[in-house]
């Protein structure tokens, strides 16, 4: 556990952040700043996340400041909700700084359906979705790939899926990086990773992954909402999943490889899970190529699920059930980005990009307002759509948080409330729930998460992103 009293005496408090200077621990190379209010700060200091963020501040080549987002909580290696940038020329890349679920992310689709009109068919559509989008288990819906097809998914991502009729070219325009990273190197992905991913394209996975139907409940920024296609009272769909077993195995493979090569680079770390290598080294380049390939797989996974969701909506609502993709954002990635004229490897672990109107990677159609940022709550609480800001570039390397953030362990959540109780409570709110495991439902209960309203307030007040719309769940499919 963090030496709270010792470390916290070095904390400087800002308007919506808490900052630890490099004197807090002698091996820190840069300061650590956490965006939080008093309550969130109190939650953050109760687990090991601050200690983990300080560990990140010791990595070779780290620059500027390391950042904790308002949803920060204890992870492994990096905290979840941690952002750190390393110089590309002499800094490191760390697989543990990206995490096992490479390019886990969220995408939002909007419909022209008004919830009030389709409420009687809500159960039907949730049922169709649970049948069409498997959790990764023995049920149908997934795409089993040949070796050649998997190679193309790894190398080309969503561009390949356009050819397969599973993506519309318009989808790629509103997917981060067009759903295809050109530096992907499929040859750097091991046979084991390929084996784990072969039959998992189009599957949700378990844990906190979900597919949710949302009501667009409130518009805070009409201009941005109009540009994003959000209209109050309409039905929308949020999809949260990642690179599945393929990404997990890529991380496993490269944490082991980095762990073994670090001595040759003279790297010593406070935490073995931060295993890393210079970005410019053969080991660093190999991981980056494999990570980009796994990211292509993850975008393709969310795209195949999108195709299944569109089919399901078509079966239930016919032509009226059309779904338009608003955006797809990644939240477990290391990206090569230019900041202040310097090329950096920006690690975002449980944190998402929040680029503003001026950034060249903000999709052309959103240049007047900034890229969409999604902050999902939990199954029974609101989710938010925000818009990235130009200010975020200097405040957080253009980053915002990726969710409400866990406040309670899975074990404690299960002890506090049974899956049946959680299901009853959600249904009492009019939320249709499909989840094969009561245990998983209990682990993901709304009370296990921080207050999403408070988290979003901090993001907005800090200027990392600004509120656009509030969504409320009306249907939940869990993996």
């Amino acid at each position: 556990m963090i030496g709270t009293a010792q470390t916290l005496e070095h904390v400087v408090r800002g308007p919506v952040f808490y900052e630890l200077g490099t004197r807090a621990r002698e091996d820190m190379r840069v300061p650590a700043r956490v965006y939080a209010d008093d309550v969130l700060w109190g939650q953050i200091t109760r687990d090991r996340s601050l200690e983990q963020l300080i560990n990140v501040a010791t990595l070779p080549g780290v620059t500027g400041c390391v950042y904790g987002m308002p949803d920060m909580h204890e992870g492994y290696g990096f905290p979840v909700g941690g952002v750190a940038a390393m110089r590309a020329n002499d800094g490191v890349i760390s697989p543990g700084g990206v995490g096992y679920d490479i390019n886990c992310g969220v995408r939002l689709l909007v419909t022209e359906l008004e919830l009030a009109a389709v409420r009687p068919r809500l159960t039907d559509v949730v049922h169709e979705l649970s049948r069409s989008v498997p959790s990764g288990t023995g049920r149908g819906g997934r795409l089993v790939l040949t070796d050649a097809e998997l190679e193309r998914v790894l190398g080309e991502g969503c561009r390949y899926l356009v050819e397969r009729g599973l993506a519309d070219p318009a989808d790629l325009e509103v997917t981060e990086a067009g759903g295809s990273l050109p530096r992907a190197d499929p040859a750097a992905v091991s046979p084991r990773a390929r084996q784990r991913g072969r039959d998992q394209l189009g599957t949700l996975g378990s844990g906190n992954h979900f597919l949710e139907l949302e009501l667009v409940e409130r518009i805070d920024d009409p201009a941005a909402a109009a540009l994003y296609g959000l209209e109050a009272g309409h039905l929308a769909v949020l999809i949260h999943t990642g690179s599945r077993g393929l990404g997990h195995q890529v991380c496993t493979d490269y944490v082991r490889r980095m762990d073994q090569v670090m001595p040759a680079y003279g790297i010593q770390l406070p935490d073995r899970e931060l295993a890393c290598a210079p970005f410019a080294s053969p080991d660093g380049r190999a991981y980056f190529g494999a990570m980009c390939a796994a990211a292509n797989f993850a975008w393709s996974n969310r795209q195949v699920i999108t195709a299944r969701v569109r089919d399901a909506f078509g079966r239930v609502f016919g032509d009226a059930g059309r779904l338009r993709l608003v955006y797809d954002v990644a939240h477990n990635m290391a990206k090569l980005e230019e900041h202040g004229g310097e090329l950096l490897v920006v690690h975002r672990k449980g944190a998402t990009r929040a680029f503003g109107p001026s950034h060249p990677e903000t999709p052309a159609r959103y240049r007047s307002v900034g890229q969409p940022v999604f902050i999902p709550g939990s199954m029974g609480t609101a989710s938010y759509v925000l818009a990235g800001t130009d200010a975020a570039l200097t405040l957080s390397f253009g980053s915002a948080c990726h969710g409400a953030g866990r406040a309670m362990s899975r074990h404690a959540a299960k002890r506090a409330k049974s899956g049946a109780e959680v299901r009853r409570e959600l249904e009492a709110q009019g939320i249709v729930v499909r989840c094969p495991s009561s245990g998983e439902l209990a682990e993901e209960a709304p009370m296990a998460y921080k207050d999403v309203e408070r988290v979003v307030d901090v993001v907005h007040a800090a200027g990392l992103a600004r509120r656009v719309a509030r969504l409320r769940p009306v249907g939940v499919v869990k993996g």
């Binding site: 492994y76 096992y100 679920d101 023995g138 935490d271 362990s409």
Partner: protein, 136 residues
């Protein structure tokens, strides 16, 4: 020392603590703890044939991580979850064992990987105690 495993608190992941008289017992119990998580808390009676397992790693702690990651891989790719183990050889850098378990129709995808964060194997009066965090 009676071999045992238990789950400790962690905000987001699963912290697994195992105890055993020696390294072989620790690895056995870690495998059983992993199976219990993958199978939703229950440890069914094993059936079918014994299968050989062999893992090599640079040191004792890495061996525990790689052993668990081997079992995660087998569960996901082969849909086979071993619950009984007979360790034939366990040294700091190698474990050779046999496993017997169950076939599952649905891939147990709950555990993504075993991690090196806060990883420890300690000598305790009657044997060894290990802690490992699993990404779930």
């Amino acid at each position: 020392m009676e071999p045992s495993h238990e789950l400790l608190g962690h905000t987001a992941e699963v912290r697994l603590r195992v105890r055993g008289a020696d390294l072989g017992a620790v690895l056995t119990e870690a495998g059983r703890g992993l199976a219990a998580i993958q199978l939703g808390g229950r440890l069914p009676r094993a059936s079918g044939e014994w299968r050989s397992l062999e893992v090599r790693a640079p040191d004792r702690e890495a061996l525990l991580v790689d052993w668990l990651n081997e079992l995660v891989y087998m569960a996901e790719v082969e849909r086979w979850v071993p619950v009984d183990f007979e360790v034939e050889e366990a040294r700091d850098t190698v474990v050779r064992a046999r496993g017997r378990g169950i076939r599952v129709t649905e891939t147990p995808s709950k555990v993504k990987a075993a991690t090196h964060h806060a990883l420890a194997i300690r000598d305790v009066p009657e044997g060894l105690e290990a802690e490992v965090i699993l990404d779930v």
